[in-house]
Amino acid sequence: MKINELTKPWSAFNYGFLDESAKREIRRRTLKAVAIPGYQVPYASRDVPIARGWGTGGLQVTLTLLKPDSVVKVIDQGADDSVNASSIRKFLAKVGGATETSDTTEATIIQSRHRIPEEKLREDQILVLQVPNPEPLRPVQPDMSIAREMHGDADYGQLWLILYEQLVRSGRIMQGSSYPSMVNGRHVMTPSPIPRWDVPKLNQADHLTILSAGREKRIFAVPPHTSVEPLVFDDVPYRVEDHQDKTCYRSGVEGFFMNELPQDDGSSLYELSDSHFGIKSIRKAEGEPVTLGETWYKNGRME
């Protein structure tokens, strides 16, 4: 018997790029994160062939979840066609044999930076959010070990104090993204820099959301059918961005989260932030047989 018959054939990289022990560790950490919703689980973040801060945390989780029959969608601030989203999607297809898609309804794994798609996710889909800073207490407590104690004690008074100060100074809450939210009534998490518009989509959702910060080496999760409540005062209701009455200039669709495009004359045009939802809407308007999935918002209002 020859040596090459006893060993596995050489390949340039392991399936899913990460070695098996790394994937096993991330799976275990992810399971713990799912078991304790909103709790930040430390993990040994590996190097992947993109720079820290460009989605390494999300990419490691996606690589761990990957199967040959996975269908992956990667979005960057709502767009499927940005350089970063395209590169990550192609990489996933190359190292995991996954099928690429831009359609939210077709995807089994959706890796995203800064947005949750407008079409409702199902229980057979997993949303992976890239997180630059996983610690909601960072603005009030720079010491990580004290911040962990504060999480342990559910000592979140100072997060409410930030909101109090914003109301006192500006007359309204100025937190635009990364809105601190209470998960399952226990841990406060930052839901990554998604806009306020998207935070209610995590509450009692059918899908699993995994949030991962590669640089900060933390994984946390929102399991299906789990409460996610933005921190608010009893007498100051939570407000999403005022995009209810904005109309996408390309597709004519209204009532969804928009990108504002300032014009030379001082006015603004608006286009759908969820680019593929916009493309599908245009195709449907042109008579193509396109199926739009059910959306979280209807006529600009959450159910």
Partner: protein, 276 residues
């Protein structure tokens, strides 16, 4: 006779003898000892504080008075000793056995503290009203209008000018910062107010104003206070009873007048005479 007491309608009240009740202590500490490395900061110290009284603790620097106050605020745990607070609806257990979370909640609801250094007690980048609101938020208040109202009331009670209630403490004078600390400490009507050198570093006129505010609060709200100071004038102005400490031990304690007019221990005599 025109007096209502003697018009025959309230004879039972008139003839009832006064009821004498023994006041149970609100704070009882027993056998508190604490060592830091080679230094014995406290040596088997016993403290009793009765409801509504002001206990003054005096002593030179390093005598252990601030360490004792930290124990009362549950910021530190002694090597030996017990600590009981008589609080309504609370089982009388040794508070040193509580875990971190229980201590935090007890502090939030029942103990207020004013530090000598306002940086220890205040969040300098937040507004003065926010500093008071923080204490209410820890205790679970989640209504913005109620937070504003209660912060305003506490600041007003501390004689803080309400026109500046949203100014940051870093923009205020030392005396005003102490008033914000005081408002924060009394916002939840604590059972026990701890004052750690609250007027040290302030000029004499501001000291007098802060002490006047403390006396008004004590009179109007009947708050139990423990006041630590090395300034005998402050202790004499404020305290009902005085405890003199030296090298981690209580060398003498008694009524304020007794301590100041007829000190028994040589160290107390030295202190009093040094002041006079």
């Amino acid at each position: 006779m025109a007096d209502a007491f003697f018009d025959g309608r309230t004879p039972a009240i008139r003839h009832r003898p006064p009821r004498l009740m023994t006041a149970a202590p609100i704070l009882t500490m027993g056998g508190i000892s604490r060592t830091y490395g080679d230094v014995q900061a406290l040596r088997s110290v016993d403290v009793i504080v009765y409801p509504g009284e002001v206990l003054g603790i005096v002593g030179e620097s390093g005598s252990g008075k601030s360490t004792l106050l930290r124990m009362m605020n549950l910021e530190d745990t002694p090597d030996a000793g017990t600590y009981h607070l008589a609080l309504p609806g609370r089982v009388d257990d040794n508070l040193f056995t509580l875990d971190r979370f229980q201590r935090r909640m007890l502090r939030a609801h029942h103990i207020g503290i004013v530090y000598q250094n306002p940086h220890l007690g205040l969040l300098m980048k937040h507004s003065s009203s926010g500093n008071v609101a923080e204490r209410l938020l820890i205790a679970g208040e989640r209504n913005f209008a109620a937070l504003r109202q209660r912060a305003r009331e506490a600041l007003d009670a501390s004689e803080f000018p309400l026109t500046r209630m949203d100014a940051r403490p870093s923009e205020l004078s030392g005396g005003m910062q102490q008033r914000v600390q005081l408002a924060k400490a009394i916002a939840l009507e604590p059972a026990l107010l701890l004052l750690d050198e609250p007027t040290t570093g302030l000029d004499v006129s501001v000291q007098a104003l802060v002490l006047d505010t403390l006396k008004t609060l004590q009179r109007d709200r009947n708050i139990t206070m423990v006041l630590v100071s090395h300034d005998l004038g402050v202790i004499r102005t404020m305290a009902d009873r005085v405890m003199v400490m030296r090298s981690g031990e209580v060398v003498e304690q008694g009524l304020a007048d007794q301590i100041f007019q007829d000190p028994q221990h040589a160290y107390t005599q030295q202190l009093v005479h040094a002041k006079l």
